[in-house]
Symmetry: C2
């Protein structure tokens, strides 16, 4: 290993509307794919590690990624500008810095915060339709807050995990859940130590059913105990989901 | 004329990112074109009149349009929902109502209000890049306000008209101009009785040069007197422009 070997940490915001999620996929545009292709042009063939996969159509305000490179060819403080000049406008590097060689954006993560936007008004402006879930019927926010409170803490979230992922355990800790109304939006902010596949979207989908009066807060609380995906409501669409930040 | 002949007024919001402006053009997607094609499927071949053309890439929060139809085939109060179900998500009908047969969205207009968004921060989030002009260098807002004040009132705005339009007169009245900072955005709000081709974008382009210190407020004031487009600064990009409302 040469002394110029470095580990670079990136904080990234992207509009996921035009991407099949974070993770590189053959023949489909993904954020990781675009980023790796751009770094290949600039530096070398590089594997970028992301803190978390985001779903197709979901967005990020503070995704974290890192990559090792033998020689950076430029001062690290220039990296952000150079990358942003080469990347499409819907992917922005907010920060680029060198970090300890041991840092791994995925394994080192202690937690993540997601926000989910519901546009709760009869009409939705066209500017918001790719960034929120339009719900034209008025939601009862107090019932959703009452229902959501049971999620805080350490639980088996199997009922809120979509199929198609293999995990050692479905136990996760939700550190906080906040549901805030700021017309026309209702924002769900969920902070946890880790999330199962589509867990935030499945939670929001069921909370919205509570808000619509299709499920009582008590019925919502019963979902967790069942540890069965079919117990929960629908999965909220990806376009309302934003990875806000990753904690280390 | 049958007694069922009606004049329908629409208030429309659109994200202009994917359109070549309002006005129908052969072989290019435009808002008027999409709307007329949709109405043709629903009702009949219909010519829609818009209050104003908007440029390719510019947006609308409250464009007004109207059309005459011999027989509506449905209650007018259902029209909005039916149209919105058929239109793409980036064009939304906010209101649809019947109006006097004499109403003409273009000729009857007494004034229009435009807003222009500048994102004045070192970095721009990807969500804002299609809806504002990114200006990474800090703008002096007080100098822009001082310069812009001279625009209020009735003047010959020839210096702020882009070429390629034929108008009887280049005299217009600006009823108010407000420039407001709300980090990271600077919003220019301009209300007038009418606007020349790309007038708002040319005004904002020159005001930004004042904000950057490339032109003094006094030099800006001199532009009007010259009545010559080459006296003004660059034309601000269309993506920051929104037709806010039309007054009748």
């Amino acid at each position: 290993m040469s002394c110029s070997y470095v580990n670079i940490k990136l904080i990234i915001s992207y509009d996921g509307s035009n991407y099949h999620g974070w993770q590189r996929q053959r023949g489909k545009p993904t954020v990781q794919g675009i980023l790796e292709n751009t770094l290949k042009k600039m530096l070398a063939k590089i594997k970028v590690t992301g803190a978390g996969r985001t779903d197709a159509g979901a967005h990020a305000l503070g995704q974290v990624a890192n990559f090792h490179v033998d020689k950076l060819k430029m001062p690290v403080k220039k990296l952000r500008t150079v990358l942003n000049n080469l990347l499409p406008e819907d992917i922005r590097i907010l920060e680029a810095s060198s970090c300890p060689l041991s840092f791994d954006s995925r394994r080192s993560a202690k937690g993540k915060t997601y926000i989910y936007l519901v546009c709760n008004s009869e009409m939705i402006l066209p500017f918001f339709s790719k960034y929120s879930w339009h719900m034209p019927v008025k939601l009862n926010i107090n019932k959703m807050i009452a229902a959501g409170a049971c999620l805080a803490g350490t639980h088996d979230f199997a009922s809120f995990m979509s199929s198609g992922s293999s995990v050692k355990t479905t136990i996760r800790t939700i550190k906080s859940i906040r549901i805030v109304k700021d017309d026309p939006f209702i924002t769900f902010c969920i902070r946890g130590n880790g999330f199962l596949k589509q867990m935030v979207r499945n939670i929001v989908g069921s909370l919205v059913e509570v808000g619509l009066g299709k499920m009582t807060p008590n019925e919502f609380k019963g979902i967790l105990a069942k540890k069965d995906r079919t117990a929960a409501g629908r999965c909220a669409p990806a376009k309302g989901l934003f990875l806000l930040s990753v904690e280390y």
